[in-house]
């Protein structure tokens, strides 16, 4: 789609303008087939594996889903250590309750839901003040072959990332699921056991807060 050229170029926009080279062309997302609540898979194989050898079954689902779950959780937490602890805990829970595991349902959906909710609980428990520190800006990879534009780009990305991290836990989770997992509102609502209306509100609030956050950065840096 075409991006409408604004008549008034505010700081943020002109900044982005200069980064044209790095801006991905905008395309509408197709729903991600990977995780959906309607996910129906053939579980005959898993059911047989679990009956034959519980440990092999566990290893099979761990090796199949550990990496994608970590990536999803990392998109929410932005912290590798916390992410791996969260995903480990989710698998431990499965292992402890393996006798009550309902294999007529999708294992993938169950693991995904459980990981997202554990990540959300983690955020709610560990609310930190994330504000942009001097050191973060200084930590940008300054090297001779970085053009000024590239540095600006990194800086913008860093600020956007901080804006995401400053969001309240639920807004942040909804934002991550929509932006990175490309899930529909109905799916997000289902995952988090909230209404679609609530998803709309969280998403709106997330965008509004992020823009304010970035507005401050623009005003400071010009």
């Amino acid at each position: 789609m075409l991006i409408h050229q604004p008549t008034i170029a505010l700081g943020l926009l002109s900044l982005y303008r200069r980064l044209g080279a790095y801006t991905a062309s905008y395309s509408k997302f197709k729903p991600n087939p990977y995780y959906t609540s309607q996910d129906r898979q053939d579980n005959t194989f898993l059911i047989r594996l679990k009956e034959e050898d519980e440990e092999k079954f566990m290893e099979h689902i761990f090796r199949s889903f550990y990496a994608p779950l970590c990536k999803t959780v990392y998109n929410i937490t932005h912290d590798t250590e916390a992410t791996e602890d969260i995903v480990q805990d989710v698998f431990m829970k499965v292992w402890r309750r393996k006798d009550q595991l309902d294999l007529s349902q999708s294992v993938k959906s169950y693991l995904f839901r459980s990981s997202v909710n554990t990540a959300l609980n983690y955020l709610e428990k560990n609310r930190r003040n994330t504000s942009m520190g001097e050191s973060d800006v200084n930590n940008l990879r300054y090297s001779n072959n970085n053009t000024e534009d590239e540095l600006r780009y990194q800086e913008v990305s860093l600020h956007i990332d901080h804006a995401v991290q400053a969001l309240p836990p639920r807004c942040r989770t909804v934002f991550a699921l929509s932006r990175y997992e490309e899930m529909s509102y109905a799916e997000i609502a289902d995952q988090l056991s909230i209404s679609v209306k609530a998803v709309e509100k969280h998403m709106g609030k997330a965008l509004k807060m992020m823009r304010m956050h970035l507005q401050n950065f623009i005003n400071h840096s010009t």
Partner: protein, 343 residues
């Protein structure tokens, strides 16, 4: 910010996620057209959305390591539960603050005051608690998660004031014997002189004096042992030991525990198996913090086989003198041993 404004943000969100109905599309369109400023806001948010970095793009979780860690946790937990069932004890779920526990803590506090030094460390956050022992001092400590630590001489144990069941981490310099309580599968981590030891629920001896190789010796449960900045752990079963060389680079291979008296300092259980009197004396001096002298150098060659479980030094020496045809007397803080000696 009016109700209408709030709705606009939700509409922009829905636009980005492709969730707009026809009616809402028109609503958003007329909002954009009503003011130039609105169009700008909309464009900015669109750019922000596109430029949001994807955190997971350069994150590649290591499945093998993850699986190792999971297996270790699952096995440790299973062993622990099987053991608990075998002993017909109820499953330990949460730590109860019963009278017993308070009494135990009170007891350990009294112990702390009588042995070892205890002070607040207030350089930076978080607050660290430090327990240390000097020459010839030993002490024990009950941690908030009910794990117990025996601290040998010239050692120091540090942990954050907010140590709790969910975050179990201590630092050790020196030697300690740990009995770690299982707590819902959560790790207990010990950093010591460049070594990292991770356990779930287990007991083991850890010797980490500065400038010597760090050694771990496992009594029960499972232990993961690695350099501090590395996750390539060696997993140890009961009866095995492993060493981290002075390079602090890699764990030297694990092998069965050689020295039967590695934890004698902690439980006073001593085993001699055709052991020369010289070695016997070395062990006794270490366990009982005392000085033992031989009147006759030939005595050092005599060999002994015996087992002691928590006896006083007097009694140990008495048994040796009866079996080995020698005599001993106490002179101040030193024991003198005299006798024929052996070739």
């Amino acid at each position: 910010m009016g109700q209408a404004q709030e709705d606009i943000w939700s509409l922009i969100g829905k636009y980005l996620s492709d969730e707009l109905s026809e009616k809402e599309k028109q609503k958003l369109q007329s909002w954009k057209e009503s003011k130039a400023e609105n169009q700008t806001t909309f464009d900015q948010v669109l750019h922000m959305w596109e430029q949001t970095p994807r955190p997971a793009d350069d994150y590649h979780p290591e499945v093998d390591k993850g699986w190792q860690r999971f297996k270790f946790r699952a096995e440790s937990e299973q062993e622990y539960y099987q053991k608990e069932h075998a002993e017909n004890k109820p499953l330990a779920k949460v730590v109860h603050w019963g009278y017993q526990r308070i009494a135990a803590i009170a007891a350990s506090v009294v112990l702390l005051l009588s042995a070892g030094t205890w002070w607040w460390y207030s350089t930076g956050t978080p607050e660290m608690l430090t327990l240390s022992t000097g020459e010839n001092e030993r002490t024990t400590l009950l941690l908030p998660d009910s794990s117990q630590v025996w601290l040998n001489e010239n050692s120091q144990l540090q942990y954050a004031e907010e140590f709790n069941v969910e975050h179990r981490l201590v630092h050790l310099s020196g030697e300690a014997f740990f009995e770690i309580k299982e707590a819902e599968g959560r790790r207990f981590t010990i950093f010591s002189e460049g070594a990292k030891t991770e356990v779930i629920g287990t007991s083991f001896n850890l010797r980490a004096y500065p400038d010597t190789p760090v050694k771990v010796q496992v009594v029960s449960g499972k232990v993961a042992f690695s350099p501090a900045d590395d996750d390539n752990a060696v997993f140890l079963e009961p009866g095995y030991e492993a060493t981290l060389g002075s390079e602090k680079k890699a764990i030297e291979k694990k092998e069965p525990i050689e020295n039967p008296n590695f934890r004698a300092w902690q439980n006073q259980h001593i085993q001699f198996q055709n052991t020369s009197l010289q070695e016997v004396i070395d062990v006794l001096e270490d366990v009982y913090h005392t000085d033992i002298q031989l009147n006759n150098p030939d005595l050092a060659n005599c060999r002994y086989t015996a087992t002691f479980e928590g006896e006083q030094l007097q009694d140990v020496l008495h048994v040796l003198s009866v079996t080995g045809n020698l005599s001993f007397e106490r002179q101040g803080s030193t024991y003198m041993i005299s006798g024929q000696g052996c070739q």
